[in-house]
Symmetry: C2
Subunit: 328 residues, 2 copies
DNA sequence: CAATTAATGGCAACCGGTTGCCACCCGGTT
DNA sequence: AACCGGGTGGCAACCGGTTGCCATTAATTG
């Protein structure tokens, strides 16, 4: 079932078979149809390796996530997968285990076996990213680096909405519950929070950093309570859900005593207890857009892209974890 | 940065470079070290495609899931990913979108670009699976097919535990909320359920089939209530969580009026409302084991495997969605 | 009718490694 | 001195396609 078998069977040269299948207009109609029929009959599937070797294109894209079990990535993976399949490409999933070193190493390793990579939540320093982007098509998600294409979810804007929401409910002491320091989005959200607070003459407290797992939520919840804030905006939903659990354990009423706002609207945010008020992010769309940008980039290698970065809007979804500030 | 560049730089033949890197003992120590140093310096990474082409091994394994957003797979993906990385292999993730046809098509397409595949929740008929397994190393998850290696989570046993639990709480009318008919696990669970019920002289009701999404939960909840059962065992947690939501909407008290038991213990099962009593499955372990079996198979191609199928135990995790049967 | 051009298909090099086979060099034997 | 065998490294074929180039043939054109 190689190109040669088909060539032998149809009595033409291998090169003709190759053309009949990949450049149909380059070969005579009757010859082509004979070859295609034979290929179908023999159930021929071209060897990707061989194609990649000579053409230099692997039709494969790597998606690097920092933790494959983080529900945030589910949507991203899905969106990317959909768009890739539509284009006939394959998805190589890589879990960097939240380590910049491992990320760099793996990136280096797959460098030559993929056409491009999508970096979701890269932990790499800007400098390193630039270097990588220069030698390999890259699209980042939620990370802005000069001269690197990216799709970023506008959570800073969402954070502002969240602050407005909380302030309008009478909250004055609001804290930001920070995620990993190496996360670009984390800093962006914190800045947005301070800006929004300042607009009302308020200053935001900040606790953390915390890991992004539900278990970190316990520590975070205690730290949050300790600030005396009546509301907390968290780096992401995973952390927020962990906080809700801990608060329930400690018998703290949400939103009666304290309001909690998450970020991303991941799976589970709508059915945790109480359902989480959060910034709904178009995660799946982000995955699709990232792939589109990458594929577009691949087709116009060398050209300067029209849009370097796409900003996706978020909106606040109000559920039951936020409510009026408690009377003092 | 090809083998030839290194050859030129060190003044040896390309074949020697190849050997120095892949069969170190086949070349003299000083030559080898010189070559290795040069390789390191030039930051050489072998071209996977080229290696695959000549060696026939791609060091890549495909994982087929029926729906990448189903939290059940997160753990599986994670486990597989971990074990694969440890072995230096890459993971190709494929979403079959719950279609047997697409599954077959994609399987066929990647056939030659992976060393083997792991089929999580295959929708393919047994016959087709046998054919595929004959021409490609395959390990299935939660699916038992003669002559195909598999790792199956012993949820039937778990279902029996669940029935015992419910019966001991006084339930007599228990219904099974079925998942997709094409799911092998679905039938296995239903059989286990009937057996367990029969042991107590009871017969189980059955509703469904339902899709495995939370939204299907609404329909399922109504159907479940309609049977008059005081408890329901569901095909999986996703469905169970959907049911809980719908029941809450309808003002039905869980577990006061009806108990619900899920299956798998996915992300979210512990923090939904009420927290779900469910069969805790070692999902991540299943992923790891599946990969181990596959890699083991690859190393001993042609040999008859020692164990064709590995059965992983489950246990019942009791939370708040199950309780005593209501008095009539 | 000769000349130019377009369509078609074969040849062979190439992508970047891997590997069987052989030649060569060396020290050790007899 | 002739012989032997192990250690090394080069040659070249091969994996399965892709593609530039050229020869052949047919069709178009002045």
């Amino acid at each position: 079932m190689t190109i040669n078998d088909i060539a032998a069977l149809t009595g033409v040269a291998a090169s003709t078979v190759s053309r009949a299948l990949s450049r149909p207009d380059r070969v005579n109609r009757v010859t082509r149809e004979r070859i295609q029929a034979a290929a179908r009959e023999l159930n021929y599937v071209p060897n990707t390796q061989a194609q990649a070797l000579s053409s230099g294109r692997t039709e494969t894209v790597a998606l690097l996530v920092s933790d494959a079990t983080n529900p945030f990535y589910f949507g991203l993976i899905r969106g990317a997968q959909q768009q890739l399949r539509a284009a006939g490409h394959a998805l190589l999933l890589i879990d960097t285990e939240d380590s910049a070193e491992l990320e760099n190493h793996l990136l280096h390793k797959v460098r030559r076996s993929v056409d491009g990579v999508i970096l979701a939540a890269s932990r790499l320093p800007e400098q390193t990213l630039s270097v990588i982007a220069a030698e390999l098509p890259v699209v980042t998600v939620n990370r802005n680096v000069p001269r690197v294409r990216s799709v970023v979810i506008d959570s800073p804007d969402g954070v502002m909405q969240a602050v407005e929401h909380l302030v309008s409910l009478g909250h004055r002491a609001i804290a930001y519950v920070a995620g990993p320091p190496s996360s670009w989005a984390n800093e962006a959200r914190w800045r947005a929070m301070r800006t929004a607070m300042a607009r009302h003459g308020l200053t935001a407290a900040r606790v953390g950093p915390f890991g992004v797992s539900r278990s970190s939520g316990s520590v975070a919840a205690d730290a949050l309570l300790n600030t005396g804030a009546t509301a907390g905006v968290t780096f992401n939903d995973l952390l927020a859900i962990g906080i809700l659990q801990r608060l329930a354990e400690r018998g703290v009423d949400v939103p009666g005593e304290i309001s909690v706002v998450g970020c991303d609207d991941i799976f589970g945010a709508d059915f945790c207890s109480p359902p989480l008020t959060t910034l709904t992010a178009p995660i799946e769309q982000a995955g699709r857009v990232a792939v589109s940008m990458l594929l577009d980039h691949l087709e116009h290698l060398g050209e300067t892209p029209s849009r370097q970065t796409v900003l996706l809007p978020t909106h606040l979804t109000i559920r039951q974890s936020s409510g009026p500030a408690p009377r003092r």
